[in-house]
Every structure is written in C-alpha cells, then in structure tokens.
Amino acid sequence: MKKLYLILLGIVSGLFASGTDPIANPYGLSPGKADLKSAGALALGPDGILFVADTKGAAIFAFDVKDTSRDTVSTAIEIKNIDKTVAAFLGVGPEDVQINDLLVHPNSQNIYLSISRGKSADAIPVIIRINRNKELSEMKTDDIWFAKADIRNVPGVDDKTSWGAPKRPMSITDMSYVDGILYVAGLSNEEFASRLRILNFPFKGDHTDTSVEIFHTSHNRYETHAPIETLLPLTLNNQPHVLAGYGCAPLAKFSVSDLTGKKHVKGHTLAELGGGSRPLDMVLFKRKGEDHVAIANSNRSVYKIKVSDLEKSEPLTTPVNDIYVSSGTPFVATGFVGVMQIDNLNKNFIAAIQRDIQTGALNLVSLPKRWL
C-alpha cells in the first residue's frame, strides 16, 4: 500500500512539475516568497512583467503580476484623496502613507502604486492594485512568480555614508526597460556620482555600472555628479535612446548603443527646463497624431515637448544666463500643476497623482491628452 501511495505521489508530482518547472518560465521567474524590503520605482517589462526597485534591500524584483485581463475603455478614472483611500485600506492614517510611484498596466488599465506604510525605519512596503472599478487590492509578494537581481556597489547594512544613512534610498531613482535591458538610474555614493546600472533581462550575470556625464546648463560645466531623477526610453531619429531628466534641470539623451558595455558615457543635453526644479516623471503620449513627452516637475507645471523637436535639437554646451531660465528644445508649460507621478492610462488619458493646490488634497486623476 505504501509503495502504491509513493507511485501515485510520483505520478501526481510529475504531472504538476511540468507546469511549475522554473526553467519553463521564459524570463527565469520562479514561484515563492519575495523578500521585498521596500517598494520604490516601478517599471514595466516584457509581457506585462512588473519591475519593483527595492532600495532598502539593494535589489530589483521582476514580478509576474498575471494581469491578463484586457480593458479597452478610454474613459477617465478619479479617486479623490487617494492617500486617505490607501490609508483606510491599509488601516493607518494618511500621514503614514507614502506613494512612491505609479504605473498603469497596459493590458488591464489597472493602476499599481508602490507604497511605504509608515514612515519609520520599519515601514512596510506594499504594492497596491486599483482596478477600473476603483477597487483596491494588494499585490501580495509572499506567493508569486518572481526573479530578483541584487544591485552591486551598494553599501552593506552596517556601512554608514557621510550623513549616517545608507546610500540605498537614493541608489535607485528610476528604471526603464528597453529591448531586453533594464536601465536603472541612481546615485552611487555620497559624492553624488550619477550612475546608470545596466541589467540584462531575464536577469543573468552581473550588471554593469556606467558613469554618465552631461553638460549641466545651470551649473555651467560637465558633470558626473548630478543625479538622474527620471528616465524614459524613446526612439529619436529611428535610434533607441534613453531620455534622462536631471535635477535643476537639464534634459539629456543617451544613445542605447553608447550605453552598452561602457564604463563612462557622455550624454547630450537637449534642453534646460529651468533651475530650482526637479523632473519627477516622464511619459510618451500621442496628441493629434504626434508624439510628445509629458514631464511632471517638482516646482513647475507639467511640460509638454514634441518628440520631433527633441530630434531636431542640437546638444547644449553653453549655460543659461540666469536662474530659472530655460533653453534648448522648446516646450510648453501646460496648465496642470501639482502633478507628481504620471503614466499612460489609455488613448485619451494620462493617469496622475496630483496635489490640488486649492484644497491641498492628494488625488488620483486623469489628465486628458487633448488638453495637454
């Protein structure tokens, strides 16, 4: 009887093994509990895979979120007081919710928010999923198909930076996936050295660290120290590029072919968006049939730039002549203020986290592309 039981067990486990063999996953994902210590920048990978930056754990996770439903509606979504809504769901006050990033899944139009629950050292990372019916759920990471890539050159837990903090909170500011490569922007050390870490996906081998240099139009010199705040993969003149928004506030392009396998790369500064501000997020969108980039800024309204104007721009090598002055690629300052995070929702709208400057409320809104 025992032997029969074992044979049956073998047959059953063999049947299931064919469906759950990690090798069978084309992206090297395997099932299990993901040890996510923080949830920061989000990026979309191939086949709807969600990348989550874990600065505290010095790692990047790739999750199969199984978001296979398809929603083709082209209407807006709005949740007033999104911070209070998330707080109510997580059982805390809104002061204990920090929204770190927003991403819209292109299949389902589900909105993913990376959240810190709590502001203390033991803040809990949470990924919230909001569906088109405005229902909140948690994307649990304790039983999920995932892959993890450790980020090298990040200090150990006991290492102190010169200001007593780990470098990790700033070690990943944004990520972008293009054609099998995940570009990860961040600061590498206390000297504010800007790095692009380049990871193959599926994750394999070590990542390369590239020191990136641009002409800083506000500082009037070439710098490797200015941090990249936000990244956007973008095709310019039929060549793949990465558009990089810097603090204080140059906008530069890096050719993907230049970035491969290099230790040090010079980018071309195309625009100065005006000092005293940081670009927070960028998204590519179509308006009247023409490609545009929308840029959310910390101290400006949302800017709109035509991709064709970026393609025509010559690299800037001279500084602006006064504080707050812009130069280079022309842009339009739209009327949308207080916008912090953006992503394409559907053909008509861009989903955004926006602070209402009249009421102070933090809202999830939809910005109509025709008014951008």
Partner: protein, 396 residues
C-alpha cells in the same frame, strides 16, 4: 515590531444582549478586539452555518462585518482576512493595527436574521453592533534631541552638514520644516540646506543629517554666484530644531533645541593624518587614543580606523568618540606585544566634507578620478612612555 506585544489596552468589549437571535434565549453576542484581531463571539452555530451556505466570501464578510479606520468615511474597509470557526468570526488585518489610529468595527446582525426559508429569525434591536478601539503606542518615551554634531561652536563657513541625534526612532517628512537656521538677528537663512525627498536618516531613524546646499558652498556654481554661501565667516548663527516632531509612536518632541555657533574661514584642505597625535595604549586594557588637529565628521569617525597586528589579523574592538576631534579604540581582547598598523579610511571627512584624498570644493574634471591608497600609521605595544606623535605616520 510586533504591536500585539505592545498593546496596553488588551481588549475593549461591546456586548449586546440579543434575546431573539439565537435559539438559546439569553445568549450574548460579543464584538471585541483582542490579540490584534476583531472578534464576533457567541453566535448561534446553526444560524452562522446557514448564513455561510449563502455568503462566505471575504467580500461578503466585509459587508456584514466591516472594519475601518474611524477617519475614513467607511467606504474603504481595512485589508485583512475573515475566518469563521464554530460560533466565532474573526478579522485579522493584513498589517498590524497601528498605534494612534482610531478604528471602528461594525457587525450587522440584521444580515444574519434575514429569512432564508430555513430558520425563522425575527428582527433584533439593535440591528448593528459597534466597536471603537485603538492600540496604545509601542513607545511611551518622550522623543528628544540627544545631541547635535559637530559639537563645537566654532565652525568653518563651508560646513557641509549637521547630524541630529534623537533618543528614539523618529518619522520622516518633517526635517526641512522642523530644522531651521537663523542669523544673529533671528532672520531665517533661506535655502541653506539641500532638500531631498528621501531625507538622510540612519537605519534606526534616530540620526538625521542635514546637508548645506553644495551648490552654495562650491565656488562658481550658479547657486553660489546667485545667493552666495549660506554661512559667512565672522557671523553668529543658531540652528533650531522646533518642537512637535513625531517619533514612530506618535509622541511629539516638546522642547525647542538650539545650537549657537560662530563661523570662521572656510576649510579647503584635506585632513592631515601627519599632524594627528597618537597615544598608544598605556596598558593591555587601555584604549588607543588619536587626537586630530580639527573636528572630523562624527558618523564617519565610527568607521575610521582598521587596526592590523603583526600577524596580519584585524584587531576587533570598538571606536568611541566623545567629541569631533579625537577618538578612542577599545580592543575586545587585551593588546598583545606587537607592532600594529592602523589604516585610516580615506573617505573620512572633516567638517567641510574634505576627505583624505580630495577637498570638497575642487574643480571636477570629466576624468574618473582614482582614489589614493589608505593613509596609515603604526604603533607598538607596549610602548615606552606614552608620548605625542609616538606613532609613525606615513602615506602609502
């Protein structure tokens, strides 16, 4: 931290006498909070069983037995899991209930008394049970500023940072509102500090660092040209940490902390290891003492030295700093008769951010710079009579 162990109010009970719900007249249904869960107890098992035949999904229970924050309008229920067992329903939140937050649980008894054509159940009064509860803060310690570094009151005008030490773990989001810098007339120095959303905290959230805006310190950068440096030699300043800063337990600092200091000329030289005064341990249990000729960064000092004995083994021990300008190294095991090599972390910085290899305000070239090798010195144990500069200082 497990909040369950910190709950000082273990349970609050709202009990309602419902004489009709159950077949057993006099049965008391209890809605209570204990053990980090919310409970409905003493339900009639048959009634509950019948109900579960129709409604036993998590979303059904969220309707019948919603648990919300009191602040929310009740439309959003707290993420968690409902379980039915015997005569009991429990709600376990996905994340522990948080101190300082008021919660509200309801149990709609009328849902149970709907007539499913199986059991006759008359309406009850009240139709809904309510429970308001909260958990006590895990820490009752009153948060306070424990120290501010640099500790000296004469500081260079190109000072790069202040470290503020607290006695308990604090919360983010208040650094740039609570910490201000004023001149001798009490006027606030605007845009003195580099504002970064991430804020510069240690792992325990007990030490926060504020950096002066490097753009105003470094000569030739536009902020420096437009606004000038935040600090000027010869001036007197006050760093103020205002009251009301919350720790993780929700308690606020009650006092205002002030540090008065005077600025002197900028320091644009790397720390000179050669001029340090090394006092070897007088006995096998005594510390090695190193006096610097200037103030150095308090946090980096804690990881400044690595000591190797003549066998090539690292000496385990602890660095103790009582001020910014000296440190002591206390070995875990007594010193042995040996020559010791002490290597100094080249990233050790003075108060202006100059490390052993480069000054903070240097002209950055496009070349990737190679860091120099560690500076080091040697000492012997036992030494003859402890004397100044008894260590041999060298730079490799």
């Amino acid at each position: 931290m497990n909040l369950c162990t910190k709950i000082l109010q273990p349970w609050i009970v709202v009990a309602v006498f419902l004489s009709f719900v159950s077949k057993g007249v006099g049965q008391t249904i209890v809605l209570e909070f204990s053990g980090n869960k919310v409970w409905i107890k003493n339900l009639d098992e048959e009634v509950l069983h019948t109900f579960c035949r129709y409604y036993n999904k998590q979303e059904d229970w969220r309707e019948v037995f919603p648990v919300t924050t009191a602040e929310s309008d009740g439309e959003i229920t707290i993420d968690g899991t409902y379980e039915v067992s015997g005569s009991t329903i429990s709600f376990a939140p996905r994340f522990p209930f948080s101190p300082g937050v008021r919660y509200h649980a309801e149990f709609h008894t009328e849902a149970l008394v709907n007539n499913y054509n199986e059991i006759y159940l008359p309406m009850v009064d009240p139709a809904t049970l309510h429970l308001r509860f909260s958990v006590s803060p895990p820490m009752v310690i009153e948060p306070a500023v424990a120290a501010i570094y640099p500790s000296g009151d004469i500081l260079p005008e190109n000072l790069l940072k202040f470290h503020v030490y607290f006695n308990s773990s604090m919360t983010r989001g208040e650094v740039y509102d609570r910490i201000t810098l004023k001149d001798r007339k009490g006027n606030r120095i605007e845009k003195a500090f580099l504002v970064m959303d991430q804020e510069f905290w240690d792992d325990d959230m007990k030490v926060v660092t504020v950096l002066f805006d490097p753009g105003r310190i470094k000569r030739g950068l536009r902020p420096n040209l437009e606004m000038g440096p935040a600090l000027k030699a010869g001036e007197v300043y006050t760093l103020t940490i205002n009251a009301g800063w919350k720790n993780i337990g929700g308690q606020k600092t009650k006092h205002i902390y002030e540090k008065h200091f005077t600025c002197v000329a900028a320091d644009r030289e790397s720390p000179k290891v050669e001029s340090w005064i090394v006092v070897p341990p007088a006995s096998a249990q005594d510390p090695l003492t190193v006096h610097f000729n200037e103030g150095l960064d308090r946090i980096l000092l804690s990881d400044a030295l690595r000591i190797i004995d003549s066998n090539g083994n690292a000496v385990k021990g602890e660095i103790v700093c009582n001020n910014d300008s000296s440190l002591q190294f206390l070995p875990l095991a007594p010193w042995k008769k040996s020559q010791y090599v002490v290597s100094v972390n080249p990233l050790l910085e003075d108060l202006a951010g100059n490390n052993l290899n480069r000054v903070f305000d240097e002209d950055v070239s496009s070349e990737v710079r190679q860091d120099k090798a560690d500076a080091s010195f040697t000492f012997f144990f036992p030494s003859a009579i402890p004397e100044t500069n008894s260590g041999t200082v060298s730079r490799k």
